[in-house]
Symmetry: C2
Subunit: 187 residues, 2 copies
């Protein structure tokens, strides 16, 4: 999992001993398109690194799916809340393509935290980073109109629009598909 080690380097460099212990905790899993790697009601006891493929993170509100996040190659995927709190997940995580992920489970990660100060630090830096991401998404919901969110999204990740159907983008932006269609029609 060299790509994961490179990803970690953005936060902190692990030495070979730390990295080997980490790598030994990873389990490679092949996932087929539309497979659910987490269901509502289950405890999410893993964090997974996406080697190949993509996922959507959504919950079902009266039969309508509300998409909270998309995760792509090179991202982590997990219900971090359920992972941290031990509470059942309110979200599903479903593959949008065939995928390959590397999972690490809660118990093993906690052992690594105990054993290596640098991995403990990595955990802190990643938690801080996740905080920043969700805080900026909160800002976009508090202070931007749906149109502004849409424009910011295509600015930031135009690839998303090609890869994901529009009704999912709408859900992610917090509007109905009809509304997104009308937003796109403006200008």
């Amino acid at each position: 999992m060299e790509t994961l080690r490179i990803y970690f380097n953005k936060f902190i460099k692990l030495n070979d001993s730390e990295w080997n212990d980490f790598e030994n905790c990873l389990t490679k899993v092949n996932i087929t398109n539309k497979e659910q790697i987490l269901r509502q009601g289950e405890h999410c006891n893993f964090i997974a690194f996406i080697h190949e493929g993509s996922f959507r993170f959504y919950y079902d509100k009266d039969g309508v799916e509300k998409i909270t996040a998309f995760n792509f190659k090179g991202d982590f995927v997990s219900n971090y809340r359920s992972f941290l709190t031990g509470k059942p997940s309110d979200h599903f995580i479903e593959a949008m393509q065939d995928a390959v992920i590397y999972k690490i489970n809660l118990q093993e990660l906690n052992s690594l935290y105990d054993k290596h100060k640098n991995i403990e630090r990595l955990g802190r830096l990643i938690a801080e980073n996740l905080y920043l991401m969700v805080a900026s998404r909160l800002d976009s919901f508090m202070f931007q109109t749906p149109e502004e969110r849409y424009k910011a999204l295509i600015e930031r990740n135009s690839r998303l629009l090609q890869e994901v159907p529009q009704y999912m983008i709408a859900s992610y932006l917090g509007v109905k598909p009809e509304t997104l269609s009308r937003i796109r029609g403006r200008k």
Copy 2:
């Protein structure tokens, strides 16, 4: 600062050596009502523990203040984003009463992280906790109506309604004061 040590105990118990080093980094500061402890454009290089008093965390959008958070006795107060990224704050932090806070700055905290694995862990647990708080606030903006947010707020923190003027509650809920007044008028 025994109350802070007790607060930390929810996350992890520090031994006396760890705690003493921590306590030595704290600076007590007296704040008067309406004093700003952080301004837009400044780098927030501190995290403060509120011993007495309360603060609001807001930013100024074209002369209108948008309140992102309230912080009370027993909470931390900081622009955590600015603190973590080193970027200038887009928010103000202003006292709503006379207050007493204990500040720790970025450099000192990083030294403590280096020196004590348990404090590094405390930093992780606090970052994880902040993640959970902002994630749940994001959910409330994505999936609830203003009325539902208002009801959840009075459910969770009815004290807030007594202590804070209604137009600030409205701002925190993401609506205009007139709208909050009408929401309250329903039923």
